[in-house]
């Protein structure tokens, strides 16, 4: 019902004598962009006068081919938690990092990790007794006073002794990941350990200078975008010690490198009133639409007329053409070159 393709063939109207070919100047003069909303985290804008195939190409590029930094290699020294190594590494990879990817280069298979293509984070947490960050809250149920008191004393005993000893939980949040501007701290196991090394011991990365000293980072240290993401939960005595290396990549290889949560577009819906709608039919129409697209306009002499007030809010739910005979009054279509 809603036709969404254009007639794109340049000779389609040749028999009628109309020239349908695109000339760049015509496009340039007609094309407009209007920004509706712009926050740090999301944005909504309109493109008028462009074809959906190009807009779709932009959408695909946004999702798949914009580079970002994400954690790729995780070197785990100690993991005694209930979360398996690979699950932990997977979760770490999905954490968004607040850094401009244009400051870094891609790293291929043969490259050595250095300060131009890697960011190193460290995580070392341990759950000690008395560290309970998550405790359960007990609710009072409707029992008699005596049993309630007994339950309360019992709960207190449990919380103080047993509970704290066995079931303490420590939630590891993403602000525990510390940025190491000097590179990796784990030592590489070299074959000839007897050789005298006058230089620094070799680590997993070879940073020739500290990333802190680079002008872009000295004032803005690299952090994670959201410091409150829960990575893992530890029980008593459990420990996680690891190092995570982040590299540059594109959404095509793995979704963790996609810079957008999602991106979509739709065409502007258009509701056209085929006939003049007046009086009771007009009020009925205004009430029918759940997103209040239609408005009443008073045209002198006490008559009312319905107009289309906010076509942008229309969700094409087709409520307005539900009843008998309404299809002759309202036609729902999409504007072919107005993309939101």
């Amino acid at each position: 019902m809603a036709k969404t393709e254009n007639i794109q063939y340049s000779g389609a109207y040749a028999s009628m004598g109309v020239d349908n070919s695109l000339r760049l100047d015509q496009f340039r003069s007609n094309f407009k962009v209007e920004v509706m909303r712009l926050n740090e985290d999301d944005m909504e804008f309109d493109m008028i006068g462009i074809d959906p195939s190009i807009a779709n190409a932009f959408r695909r590029i946004l999702i798949a081919e914009l580079p970002t930094m994400a954690i790729e290699k995780v070197l785990i020294a100690n993991n005694t938690s209930v979360i398996q190594d690979e699950v932990l590494a997977h979760r770490l990879g999905l954490i968004p990092i607040k850094v401009d990817p244009r400051l870094f280069d891609y790293m291929s298979e043969n490259d050595v990790p250095n300060e131009k293509n890697t960011i190193v984070f460290k995580l070392h947490v341990r759950c000690e007794r008395g560290d309970a960050r998550l405790t359960e809250k007990r609710r009072l149920t409707g029992m008699t006073i005596f049993t309630e008191v007994v339950v309360l004393i019992f709960n207190w005993l449990v919380t103080e002794w047993y509970f704290k000893m066995a079931m303490a939980c420590y939630a590891v949040t993403s602000d525990e990941l510390k940025w190491l501007p000097n590179g990796s701290e784990f030592l590489l196991a070299t074959e000839n350990s007897a050789s005298n090394s006058t230089s620094r011991p070799k680590t997993y990365t070879s940073f020739s200078c500290s990333q802190d000293s680079l002008p872009q980072f000295s004032k803005n240290p690299i952090t994670l975008k959201h410091p409150d993401i829960i990575i893992a939960k530890l029980g008593l005595g459990q420990e996680i010690e690891l190092e995570a290396h982040a590299v540059k990549g594109m959404g095509k290889t793995h979704a963790k490198w996609s810079p957008v949560a999602t991106a979509w577009y739709r065409m502007l819906p258009e509701a056209v009133l085929l006939q003049e709608i007046q009086d009771e039919k007009a009020t009925e129409l205004v009430q029918k639409c759940p997103t209040k697209v239609f408005d009443i306009e008073d045209v002198g002499k006490g008559k009312k007329r319905a107009t289309v007030g906010r076509p942008r809010d229309c969700t094409l739910c087709r409520e307005c053409i539900r009843g008998e005979g309404w299809e002759n009054y309202v036609a729902l279509r999409r504007v072919k070159d107005h993309l939101i």
């Binding site: 496009f27 340039r28 094309f31 962009v33 920004v35 712009l38 190009i54 779709n56």
Partner: protein, 94 residues
């Protein structure tokens, strides 16, 4: 990679590696807008291979010229979109 015949320059198929619908659909759109083109379309032989075949048939002009021209047009369209978008964002911020 272009497959065509030596005698008839006006019709040929271009096979592009490491591409997908992102580029192919927009190229097909700009090719269609060119009045010298009688037929154009694209296909993806297999979704696991990143390969696109674009077919162009023209009214006499060599197909590779027409293809190059429409690639240029696409680049200009994108540049114009980018500058308009930048203006709109700066206007919105002020």
């Amino acid at each position: 990679m272009e497959l065509g015949s030596v005698q008839d320059q006006s019709a040929s198929t271009f096979s592009l590696t490491d591409e997908d619908h992102t580029l192919a659909n927009s190229l097909r759109f700009t090719l269609n807008q060119d009045p010298r083109v009688t037929f154009c379309g694209y296909s993806i032989p297999h979704p696991s291979d990143a390969r696109v075949n674009i077919r162009v048939q023209t009214t006499g002009d060599p197909a590779s010229e027409v293809f190059k021209d429409s690639c240029q047009d696409l680049m200009l369209i994108c540049q114009h979109v980018r500058s308009t978008f930048d203006h709109a964002v700066t206007n919105f911020k002020n």
